[in-house]
């Protein structure tokens, strides 16, 4: 794997910035992606992406399969580093720091930018250990402190009442929705600034999905959330901003309200009304 940082060969184009309606115009963006190109081998999966996202909002990435939305999401905490043959050009800044800079500690980055995946992936350990593991990894050893964070995280993930009496039982015995909330609790326990979610509810039933969506809306107060979803109604329900991608390009980025009632680009209109994609 090779990472090219940040050599700009394609013509720079202006980043799409979130409209000011939901953010103070003076606030600087928390996440700034500029002229980002990504290749998987010879396939150019992201084409000159420029987008800025503010803190404490939920941004949804939508688009047909293969449009690059998950790839861009994974660029935000360098998960693509783990894939062979990936080449990245451009810049991704979080809180002003280029996360592809040479001085970046990737482990530290992933602590600040947590991730929840499509398929819940709890460790084959107890509910307690699922959360405690990451805390210990980040140097928290005191049991009372770990206990307090576990309770706080499980409460924040709306799971505490359901599992408080069986914290030391295997997380694998929980339902799919509960497992996903364990993963969210695990992600928020280490207090990231940003939580990336890659179709976190796509494998869940409507009740479990509704709980995850409620949770996302609650977590927005504390964290910045970027979510990839194929479910446009879900994006409409939970996100403040929506970005539409197609064939590796960012086509349109605006408030969710605008994107789902009156998108500016025909491609977006056609996609959200189910006429292509």
């Amino acid at each position: 794997m090779r990472i090219d940082i940040p050599i700009r060969t394609s013509a720079p184009k202006p980043d799409l910035v979130p409209p000011a309606s939901l953010n103070a115009p003076s606030a600087s963006p928390l996440i700034e992606v500029s002229n980002l190109d990504l290749h998987y081998g010879t396939t150019r999966a992201l084409k000159n992406i420029g987008i800025q996202m503010h803190g404490h909002v939920v941004t949804a990435f939508i688009g047909p399969s293969g449009c690059g939305k998950s790839t861009l999401l994974r660029c935000l905490n360098r998960m693509n580093d783990l894939i062979d043959g990936v080449r990245i050009r451009g810049s991704v800044k979080i809180a002003g720091h280029d996360i592809y800079g040479k001085d970046i500690d990737v482990i530290e980055l992933r602590k600040r930018v947590g991730m929840v995946f499509q398929k819940s992936n709890p460790f084959p350990k107890s509910i307690y250990e699922n959360i405690a593991y990451g805390l210990r990894l980040h140097g928290i050893r005191k049991k009372s402190e770990i206990d307090a964070i576990i309770e706080r995280s499980l409460r924040a993930a709306a799971l505490w009442d359901e599992v408080k009496d069986r914290l030391h039982r295997s997380a694998m015995g929980l339902s799919g929705g509960q497992q996903q909330r364990v993963c969210i609790a695990r992600a928020i326990a280490i207090e990231p600034e940003v939580i990336l979610m890659d179709e976190p509810a796509s494998a869940l039933d409507p009740i479990a999905t509704a709980r995850i969506e409620e949770l996302i809306l609650d977590l927005r107060k504390q964290f910045t959330i970027v979510i990839v979803t194929h479910n446009m109604q879900q994006a409409a329900r939970i996100s403040d901003y929506t970005a539409f991608f197609y064939l590796g390009e960012l086509i349109e980025y605006d408030t969710t309200r605008k994107m789902f009632t009156n998108p500016s680009k025909k491609q977006t209109e056609d996609y959200v009304t189910g006429r292509f994609g």
Partner: protein, 230 residues
């Protein structure tokens, strides 16, 4: 091949246009009944109202079914607007019924000598309604916007007729019941124009996603949501 969803949208549009056609016809017939003192025609108008009511229920039912499929963007606006337009058209039907009732009352007495120019006012209101529905069919925002200022003219005529009818009543108490009936007719036509304005505003929203109701910029007042009492 059209998507099933598109076919359902088309069916909704057809139901709405059927309703629109009935609404236009009943207002024209109500005025015709009034002018020609034709009680049979007036009674036909009243019978027609239940067909419009049934169509309103049908349009709303289809719209609810479509909303359950979680439409977005233009589709969402179209369905929301269809429900509102059907509501306006149902009210137009009610106004036609009111006019026809008053027409039957008026035909029991001799006509007033200096009849206020109800047909002129009716022509403007009916043409506003027709144009608003044409704009809906053609999704023509400019045409819809052009209708909105006409509402002021209908308001002005209503006020003018109102004052003229008060003068009649002061001069000759024998005309009171006829004048009151004509006042109701004039008010009903003014409401038809309000509903046409509402439809025009909905068409602008459908085309531009811009809500121009109550914006004051010549858009005119929206129709009252209270049912007519005549």
């Amino acid at each position: 091949m059209a998507l099933h969803f598109e076919q359902e949208l088309e069916a909704l549009k057809t139901a709405l246009l059927t309703m629109a056609s009935h609404a236009e016809v009943v207002v024209s017939r109500a005025i015709q009944a009034l002018v020609n003192r034709d009680d049979d025609l007036a009674r036909q108008v009243q019978e027609e109202d239940s067909a419009i009511d049934r169509l309103e229920v049908e349009v709303d039912e289809q719209a609810i079914q479509l909303l359950a499929k979680a439409p977005l963007a233009t589709d969402l606006r179209f369905i929301a607007v269809s429900m509102k337009i059907s509501h306006d058209l149902e009210r137009v039907g009610d106004e036609a019924t009111t006019i026809s009732r008053r027409s039957i009352e008026l035909s029991k007495e001799p006509p007033l000598k200096d009849y206020v120019d109800i047909p002129h006012m009716a022509a403007i209101a009916i043409s506003m309604l027709k144009d608003a529905l044409d704009a809906f069919v053609a999704r023509d925002s400019a045409k819809a916007r052009a209708i909105i200022p006409l509402d002021k003219e209908v308001d002005r005529l209503n006020k003018q007729f109102h004052n003229a009818l008060i003068s009649f009543m002061i001069k000759d108490s024998e005309t009171i019941s006829r004048c009151l009936n004509l006042m109701v007719v004039s008010k009903s036509l003014e409401r038809v124009a309000d509903h046409a304005t509402n439809v025009a505003e909905e068409v602008v929203y459908l085309c531009e996603a811009q809500d121009i109701r109550h914006s004051g910029g010549g858009a005119g007042a929206s129709a009252s949501t209270s049912r007519p009492t005549g």
